[in-house]
């Protein structure tokens, strides 16, 4: 009979039930979505932050020559495919443009475009050899613009120890300095590069163009890796590379790794704070709704008492009803919350989120608990109602 009364109350008081279920569902939707995002966002953020630049740099060890192609392959062999976001190698050489010294960087420009999301290029990225990106400072000094042609003359290749120092005259093989060469190449300016960093003073060209200019092949001065790991395991990876690959020195870019960790920690804290606030608001909202629902049924409670029901059985019946409402609201909220998290993730990160079964179960359980707690006080108060109320026609 208790089940029948519960079923009838739920199925024949639809508008009231709908309001109570919605109150629970809105809260559980928000909590589920926030929790799912709190789990998923750090993963997305970590991936997105990888596009802000390398977080692991590999250089030749002190006194070692430039890194050969086979050494680069060895380094890649230490990594697992799933964690590698990008690998970009650079070769540096001192060059002159209009008789003024600059540093040239040769790289796989297609890889660089993918890895250097923060590089701002006015014009277009080079899409074939013979085209260059000119750093903003260089372009400004010489007066270059996209579409211009420029003659790049080799002065000397530099080591990776200090690629920004044009005075460093050690060649990539660590050999004694050679007399300045006068090899030149005419290259087409495809875009003007602005990074806010050293690259603004660089001439960035395809590695094959630089190799033809320097006549040194299959050598790089630096390998920039973007790895999807936290700062602690990134340090471990650097040590592993140092151990397993000869004559290299790997080091995390500490500033980036720590900034990333700080941002993610702040984001997690923010989401947790918002979730707690939403939880509190949900509790208040559900409590208010349950209070209204129970208060509306005071006459029914008084009647049940007049018919012989004791307080405990009435409280049990009403709290069971509240928990069923919590269950339905929680299930609805888990479904809607997944949709909300999916929509937010698609809109902000352009990626979906994976449904979490255990999180859905926790959300439903929390909804049932919230409905129980929220109804406890109003039900307790309602069961204290004087059964004579029905006789007094109040």
């Amino acid at each position: 009979m208790a089940w029948l009364m519960l079923r009838r109350s739920l199925t024949r008081r639809r508008s009231r039930v709908l309001i109570a279920v919605l109150a629970v569902a809105i809260g559980s939707t928000t909590i589920f979505a926030l929790a799912l995002l709190a789990i998923d966002i750090p993963r997305h953020m970590s991936q997105d932050m990888r596009s802000l630049g390398a977080n692991l740099i590999v250089l030749p060890a002190d006194g070692s020559p430039a890194l050969s192609a086979s050494t680069v392959e060895e380094i890649k062999g230490v990594l697992t495919d799933s964690e590698v976001v990008s690998v970009v190698c650079f070769r540096y050489a001192n060059v002159r443009l209009n008789q003024q010294p600059f540093l040239a960087a040769g790289t796989d420009l297609a890889q660089a475009q993918k890895a250097k999301g923060y590089w701002d290029v006015e014009g277009d990225w080079p899409d074939q050899p013979g085209q260059v990106l000119i750093g903003r400072d260089v372009a400004s000094l010489i007066g270059l613009a996209p579409g211009d042609t420029v003659t790049v003359t080799l002065t000397q290749a530099v080591t990776a120890a200090d690629p920004t120092d044009p005075s460093d005259q050690t060649d990539p093989d660590g050999q004694a300095p050679e007399p300045p060469a006068e090899r030149s190449a005419r290259l087409s300016v495809r875009g003007i590069l602005t990074t806010g960093g050293n690259e603004d003073g660089f001439v960035v060209m395809d590695l094959s163009d630089l190799e033809r200019l320097t006549l040194s092949f299959d050598l790089v001065d630096i390998v920039e890796l973007s790895i999807d790991r936290d700062s602690a395991s990134l340090a471990e990876l650097a040590q592993t590379i140092d151990r397993q690959v000869d004559q290299v020195s790997a080091a995390p870019v500490r500033r980036l790794a720590h900034s990333e960790a700080d941002v993610l920690a702040m984001l997690r804290s923010l989401l947790a704070l918002v979730a707690v606030i939403v939880l509190a608001l949900t509790l208040i909202g559900v409590a208010t709704t349950m209070m209204a629902v129970v208060t509306e049924r005071r006459a029914e409670i008084a009647l049940r008492k007049a018919l012989g029901a004791d307080q405990r059985s009435i409280a049990w019946e009403f709290q069971c009803e509240a928990m069923v409402l919590g269950l339905v609201g929680g299930l609805l909220g888990a479904g809607l919350g997944f949709g909300l998290a999916q929509a937010i993730s698609q809109s902000v990160f352009q990626r979906g989120v994976a449904f979490s079964g255990w999180l859905a179960a926790v959300t439903v359980a929390a909804s049932v608990l919230i409905a129980y707690l929220a109804s406890r006080q109003p039900v307790r108060r309602a069961t204290l109602v004087d059964p004579a109320l029905v006789l007094r026609e109040e």
């Binding site: 009838r8 018919l307 006789l391 026609e393």
Partner: protein, 241 residues
């Protein structure tokens, strides 16, 4: 249906001895003494504020007197706690209300079964038989909102009868009914009375009051008149002692 134990033959089913109920300075009941023999139909009349509702609440175990003794079925209920009063009410009293007080989301049949549920075990066949007794078997699966006022009151009567109470307490049972439905309800009361039920009916309606074996009048909390309309199963000593 369950049956409460019968009292000793010479013992009234209900007895008030110098019962008072005081709210602050207000004496809602003032030293009222009254005995109701088993099987009697007692009408209680009086103007508003005379203490009728207070008396009904005490008889219905919904309230306790400030002083005096109330014996229901031979048991003094004046000093019982709410749990004890609930137990007595559940087993001995059938309540009929002016505004019916049916649970809106339950059918007529389910409303009757609720009283069974709180008393013992719900039995659909018995509940249906109770509805049949009040002429509503065909309306058993209708919600209160689908029933007329008279039909709702008959459901309320069926609910009051379902546990075979020893005392049926009706508070203005015809107050919300038209003449036709009033006649139907009074006919039901006559049937119950003929079957030996004890009825206490509070009413403003002199026609309804005149149907009982005896009519007592309350004024300012005092029992001022006690008129016998016809022979009752047992005599009352009535009036304030």
């Amino acid at each position: 249906m369950s049956q409460s134990p019968a009292p000793a033959a010479d013992q009234p089913i209900l007895e008030f001895v110098e019962v008072s109920k005081v709210y602050g300075q207000l004496h809602a009941l003032d030293r009222v003494s009254l005995a109701v023999p088993e099987g009697e139909w007692l009408s209680i009349v009086g103007p508003s504020g005379s203490g009728k509702t207070t008396l009904v609440n005490i008889v219905g175990c919904l309230d306790r007197p400030t002083s005096g003794q109330v014996r229901l079925g031979g048991r003094d209920i004046a000093g019982l706690n709410p749990t004890g009063l609930t137990e007595i009410r559940r087993t001995m009293v059938g309540l009929i209300f002016q505004k019916f007080h049916l649970i809106g989301h339950l059918t007529a049949l389910e409303n009757v079964m609720v009283a069974q549920y709180y008393h013992s075990m719900p039995d659909q066949a018995e509940a249906l038989a109770a509805l049949d007794r009040v002429g509503l078997a065909q309306r058993a699966n209708h919600l209160p909102s689908q029933l007329s006022g008279g039909e709702q009151q008959r459901v309320c009567i069926a609910r009051a009868l379902i546990n075979d109470p020893r005392l049926i307490l009706a508070d203005e049972p015809t107050g919300n009914l038209d003449a036709a439905n009033e006649a139907i309800v009074l006919e039901l009361f006559h049937q119950l009375h003929a079957e030996g039920a004890t009825l206490i009916v509070v009413t403003h309606d002199s026609t309804v009051a005149g149907q009982g074996d005896r009519e007592v009048t309350l004024e300012h909390g005092r029992l001022v008149r006690d008129i016998a309309h016809r022979d009752a199963p047992a005599a009352s000593d009535g009036g304030n002692r």
